[in-house]
Symmetry: C2
């Protein structure tokens, strides 16, 4: 059985995943790794960004680690064959509904951000983004031509009680192991799905998690508070679209998009999907300058959440921190190390 | 004919609008002002947050200046009678489809933000938010009970070519008078309305505005770039929901939500709707400590965009800057002036 299926994907994906292989060979040589083409790479080979075989391999592995997908090469491709469609298909196919996106400020990088040091130093909060529902998957969605000659486009946001409850449960459970505080972000003042979201989270909290502190926050105010005073947050749970936007803003707080991993989890025991927050970065692909830390830390999350090896995860996390403290910096952090040298720095720190 | 209809609304709304009256009496004593209850106040008096008479008065004024609406008092009220529903009804009823939300860093406040001084000093960009379409108004929208006993909520995002084109036109025109650059933000990698948005903006640009620099940006990346390097932006045009969130993040950049105005414009010649970005702030309402600058600057935008008095607008803007430079600060800016004293400081600077 495969422990970890690697999907390097496109752009800088293969470069950063190569560093994960390097780290894994030292830290966990017993792990059974497998690898498949994915995204644009898979489209080029098979005419599909996600083949049925790859989805099967993902569902039967213990964990899946993706690099990145997409790039200008595939812009002209029909939308359901684009690399991004492969990613959405993988998330839905694996049923990984809870996306954990940490906003974490590494101590050695407390000055790397556009925010003042005191605002981000020690920052450690977690966004739990619903990942398999909402406007990303709702039907109907179409573009039609109007009698007038113009067009009309429709997208549909759909959420059920069950979808909201299961992701909120992940957030409450997480908070119990952290600082015991959950913010639930929606637009219940404008959207019916926001009203249901608030109602379901409130009910679940009352029934099973009244020991956790719960606050409801409007998504626009959440965006503002993330910029103003991010340290007020511990866990924030929100829908697919708000989570996409708020987690990108939060990621940037730490000044180091190249540092941030994510984990997408399904039902207990089912394989998780791990990916760096960053994209395929076509502008630097092939140059060997991408920061591999986000991929390495995604591997760290996989060890912790899917591979039952939190001992190794702890060691890896400490090694990343140590490498940073010793001054290891790729260009995105103002340094001059190559991707491979940054991977080496982590291996050395192990 | 009314020049400016004041809708003080709820919470701190009446307090900040009182300062606008004070400023207007000195700066433009000839303006014909009128005033009506709105939002929660109107609901309490008439059972409706926006009466037909008030909407008529708004449509026949030259400009409308709103304070703020809403508060905990009306949380239990049916959603279509809530203060926020009155605001959405006013926007739709006045057909003010282009919402201009400046992210502006006043020089004397360059240190007031959570961002580093060099990141925000001199910041001056404008978000143009579509305000009368999208998921705020699309049908169907409902919550239904499922056979299983759970519920299902649906919201619909709808955009037509005409709706996108008219707001993009406002953005291109604005850019021509500024630094000639427009970013158009959407999620065309995920949403059909995003695909149409990108197509319509691209076409309009090619047909009529090819002298303006246009860049397309995904909304999640926009959130990130707003935090990372906001000075790269001049004008950003986006839909109603993304605009709500991105403009709140942008507003916070300047560290002074209490400073930021907005203008909502319709077809040329039709009245504009002006409002501070901040809300009704129930926690400080009645205490006389709210910052009236956002309301005063909303009045400044009304003078400029609806009342054809840009000479007075220039004078007022300079007076605000001067008052700040002389050290006038309400508590949100770390000072101790009351709302009335802050208004007085502007009058003095006039
Ligand atoms: C690539 C894109 C489809 C994706 C998303 O919108 O979910 C990305 O932005 C992300 O956040 O993982
Ligand atoms: C009060 C609310 C309905 C409103 C909105 O969502 O548009 C507010 O957040 C705003 O940005 O003006």
């Amino acid at each position: 059985m495969t422990d970890l299926l690697l999907l390097p994907g496109d752009g800088i994906g293969p470069e950063v995943i190569a560093e994960v292989r390097k780290v894994a060979a030292v830290l966990a040589p017993d792990l059974a790794l497998d690898e498949r083409p994915f995204g644009g790479k898979s489209y080029d080979l098979h005419g599909e960004p996600l083949t049925a075989e790859t989805l099967e391999a993902a569902k039967s592995a213990k964990a899946v680690l993706m690099g990145a997908v997409g790039g200008p090469k595939w812009t002209g491709v029909a939308r359901d064959k684009r690399p991004e469609a492969g990613l959405l298909g993988l998330r839905a196919g694996m049923n990984v509904f809870a996306n954990l996106r940490p906003a974490l400020c590494f101590q050695p990088l407390a000055d790397a951000s556009s925010l003042k040091r005191e605002v981000v130093e020690g920052l450690d909060f977690m966004i739990v983004r619903e990942l398999t529902g909402g406007i990303y998957f709702g039907e109907p969605r179409f573009i039609e031509t109007l009698p007038s000659g113009g067009k009309r486009a429709v997208d549909t946001q759909v959420y059920t009680t069950a979808e909201i409850e299961r992701v909120a449960r992940v957030a409450f459970e997480l908070a119990r192991g952290r600082r015991n505080k959950v913010h639930s972000a929606e637009k219940s003042n404008v959207m019916d799905s926001g009203l249901l979201w608030r109602e379901v989270v409130t009910d679940l909290h009352k029934r099973e998690y009244s020991d956790v502190q719960l606050e409801h926050i409007l998504a626009d105010n959440a965006a503002m508070q993330i910029v103003k005073n991010p340290k007020q947050f511990d866990v924030m749970v929100t829908d697919n679209l708000f989570g996409d936007i708020l987690s990108d803003a939060a990621a940037q707080l730490t000044g180091s998009l190249g540092m941030l991993p994510s984990a997408a989890l399904g039902e207990p025991g089912a394989p998780g999907l791990y990916e760096p927050i960053h994209g395929s970065a076509p502008d630097i692909a092939g140059k060997g300058v991408a920061n591999p830390m986000a991929a390495i830390l995604s591997f760290e999350m996989a060890l912790r959440w899917s591979l039952s090896r939190s001992d190794l995860a702890d060691r890896l996390f400490a090694a990343v921190d140590k490498a940073l403290a010793s001054g290891a910096r790729t260009p995105d952090l103002g340094g001059a190390l190559t991707t491979a040298q940054m991977g080496d720095a982590v291996v050395t720190a192990l």
